[in-house]
Amino acid sequence: MSLDTDSTPDSTPDSAAQSARVGETTASGPAVASSGLTRGLARVPLLGRVTRWNRWARLAALAGVAGPGLVAANAGNDAAGIATYASAGSQYVYGTLFFMVLVTVALVLVQEMAVRLGAFTGKGLGALIREQFSLRATALALTCLLLANTGLVVSEFAGIGAAFELLGVPKWAIIPPAALLLWALVLFGSYRYAERIFLVMSLVFFAYPIAMILGHPNWGKVGHSLVVPHLQGDKGFILLAVALIGTTVSPYMQFYAAAGVVDRGTKVADYPLIRADAIIGAVFACGISLTIIIATATTIGGTGPLASAAQAAKALEPVAGQSAEVLFAVGLIGASALAGAVVPLSASYAIGEAAGVERSVSRRFRDAPFFLSLFTAQIALGAAVAMTPIDVIQLLIGTQVLQGLITPVVLVYLLILTNRRSVLGAAANGPRYRIAATVVVVGVAAMSTILLVQTVLSWFGLG
């Protein structure tokens, strides 16, 4: 064999088949994935040369190793997210669509800043905040994160409870074992297999775009609402708007996205790829959110706030008919279980990183006590609160409001960090970007403040 024929690895049919084989391995074992994503994407032209079956395997592999930006943004479409979007559709029909477009822009900007920080410094957001601000400022940001995340964990378990109630199982019988199972899965290492099952289950929500089309919305009105600003002064609308921001731009996502970029050992040279991933992820996630709003608006629009999970399931009727509730329940269980592990873990990770302590789920309690206790505490607290007899949908939306209030705090840190040349050097925000990002942060903060003022006024009967 002469050396020349072998010098270009991708040119022989054999090596193409070999790469496809590697792709398949990726789909079944997560391990190769860390470098698989970037390499996979970088060598996408290869797709054309492999057989159709292999191509699907490769695509599945690529989806399986979707970048941190994509995963982070789509994690927003969990139990709480679905409740909020469905509520927006049922209460204000198409009224919130324009607002969601703005939120999409905000999410794109914010996620991009987060992955840029991760890619260029090799450090997570928690660590950067501690290095660049005072310890108390760090504590403030991380307390906010912990608070918002615990709220989210509550909502994830509430989501699991609600899903099982749709299937006829009372929530007090399902939440404790579910919490225990999830905790054990993460700590004792078999979570990565379960994670795939959850992921597949949550794909049920991809039925929403189909439901939207089958539901025959008034496309003219949809288009109009998407483009023409619509703002309502009443408290309910503002509350929902803040909730929409909270569920779409949630603080943990930024921590998660930055940590994900760092943890994959992504390189500066790959930054365009990372940015693309973050932007596509954000746009894609918001696209799904929009279809949920439109689908619910078409089926139960104008009936007032969402009252139960069963109502949210109604929007899936055009797709699933009688079994809409089962379909919805399956998706809800998958999404909630997925986020139920990832959310508390990402908070523990961010805090552990900032504190500089040992952090890994593969360690035992003795080796990483702080990290694992934080994780355990969030799960335990979340499950306990979810057990109390509360209105699930209201709780879910309440969590999003809390997130909406905390988001500005995290965004301000993010903005300052990405503005600093001492941190990012040449990759720091340029003047135009700085203005855009500042507008977004101020806008989000303003929404939150309005809500806060309204809430306080209403305590005194003035609202």
């Binding site: 064999m1 391990a31 860390s34 108390r136 290492g189 994900g260 500066v268 040279a269 500089g356």
Partner: protein, 455 residues
């Protein structure tokens, strides 16, 4: 051991432990009174000998890498009115936990200008990453402790404990109290700080170098992976290239690729040069063509040519994963001569596990495992040894183009730990080691970090 003696030894152990704890507590108390917490000191008043406040401490300046075992404090950055000025260490009379007293009424205040090797402890070191060489982990400095020793104030230790972080979050009066719970001796710490690396390298490496060099390559690789980008490059700069290269060989490919990209080309080239050829090729393969060329042009010609040759083989073949580190011998060499030759290649001990016996025209005759060399008589010639070995079956070798899967099967069949790679004329090109095949066969199991949740 009977239960009785076990009980006795347990009691003895417990007693010993208690004695030790008491001793430790006493020591801690006396130490605590002399230690000054950096976090507590910032913001505290600077008093003149009369006890009047003249300013407030903003930061502490120390010469991080000097000739001293512990870095001496060279001065304070003090806020006087609205100005930030530098107060030289000579003017300091006494540093206590919550105030600084000056030695004379005359204060010589000047604008603070950083001199080479000087760092602002509060801004550059506190809360930043550092490597704890003793515990082999990357930590964050929760507090720094200063101690007055013989007329000077020295930086003696780093606190990395969680309670200390909580103390710093607490009320002001807690902060001045040192809480040395998990303090790492400054000498076993490799700190990273802006401007700390100025000055001649030999001097600045003094304190932590020895400790760093005692680390195993895999430990060092873990540390490198845990560090931020800038810190990672600083740590690399502290190591000598040979030691660093050993660590790089243990790193995950993606991380290694990053690291080589970020490093200044000269240093990256030096590291690649020091790495074993097969590992170097694996690293180079992941880089873009132009980046690879940039590195290769900085490597001495002979080695660069060798690497280029290896790069020509596809990644998943025997040629693409082999090491070119070969020991060859001819028939009439004696075992003693060969052993003497091997003794000079001790640094490549992980790459050599057999010797290729070749004919005069370079063709492979036999592959003699080290075991057989070790037990053979000194005066035996290798030809005789090979003939004797032939009774156990012929030698195995693979073609450079063989897929790694085939290589694995052949390795198993031959029950060997490595196989020679030969060209079409049966001339040895290199050797493929079992661990390279293992790397290929096993899914790259990263440490089960956060990462698996992101996949």
């Amino acid at each position: 051991m009977t239960s009785n003696t076990m009980l006795m030894s347990t009691t003895a152990k417990l007693r010993g432990r208690r004695v030790q704890l008491v001793r430790q507590a006493t020591a801690t108390r006396s130490v605590r009174e002399t230690l000054v917490s950096l976090a507590g000191l910032t913001g505290r008043p600077v008093l003149n000998p009369m006890g009047d406040e003249v300013g407030r401490v903003v930061d502490v300046v120390a010469r991080l890498y000097g000739n001293d075992a512990y870095p001496p404090v060279t001065g304070l950055v003090v806020r006087v009115g609205r100005r930030r000025s530098f107060l030289a260490a000579s003017a300091i009379g006494q540093i206590a936990g919550d105030r600084v007293r000056l030695s004379s009424a005359r204060m010589d205040l000047s604008e603070f200008v950083r001199r080479p090797g000087e760092v602002l402890l509060g801004r550059d070191v506190l809360d930043h990453q550092l490597v704890d060489v003793d515990g082999v982990q990357v930590n964050r400095a929760a507090d720094l402790y200063l101690a007055p020793v013989g007329g000077r104030v020295l930086l003696v230790g780093v606190d990395v404990s969680l309670p200390t972080l909580l103390r710093r979050l607490g009320p002001r009066r807690w902060q001045a109290r040192a809480t040395p719970e998990r303090v790492v001796d400054w000498q076993t710490v490799a700190p990273f700080a802006e401007n700390a690396t100025d000055g001649p390298a030999e001097v600045r490496l003094r304190s932590s170098r020895g400790a760093l060099h005692r680390l195993r390559p895999a430990e060092l690789a873990d540390l490198l992976e845990d560090l931020g980008r800038a810190e990672r490059q600083q740590l690399l700069a502290m190591l000598d290239p040979g030691h660093a290269a050993d660590a790089l060989e243990e790193m995950e490919p993606a991380e290694l690729e990053n690291l080589l990209r970020e490093a200044p080309p000269e240093r990256a080239a030096r590291l690649v040069e020091e790495m074993e050829p097969d590992e170097a090729v694996e690293a180079l393969r992941d880089l873009h063509t132009d980046e690879r060329e940039q590195l290769l042009t900085r490597i001495p010609d002979a080695e660069a040519a060798q690497l280029r040759g290896l790069l020509a083989y596809p990644e998943d073949t025997a040629g693409g994963s082999m090491t070119t580190r070969l020991v060859t011998a001819v028939r009439d060499q004696t075992v003693a001569e060969l052993r003497a030759e091997l003794a000079t290649s001790a640094e490549h001990r992980t790459e050599i596990d057999a010797v290729a016996l070749v004919s005069a025209d370079g063709r492979l005759l036999a592959d003699i495992p080290l075991f057989d060399l070790a037990v053979a008589d000194d005066r035996t010639t290798l030809g005789e040894l090979a003939d004797w070995l032939a009774q156990f079956g012929g030698h195995d070798a693979v073609q450079a183009g063989a897929r790694l899967g085939e290589v694995a099967e052949q390795l198993v069949a031959a029950r060997a730990s490595s196989l020679l790679v030969v060209d079409e004329q049966q001339r040895p090109l290199g050797r493929i080691l079992a661990d390279d095949v293992l790397d290929y066969l096993l899914p790259a199991r990263g440490r089960l970090h956060f990462r698996r949740f992101l996949q």
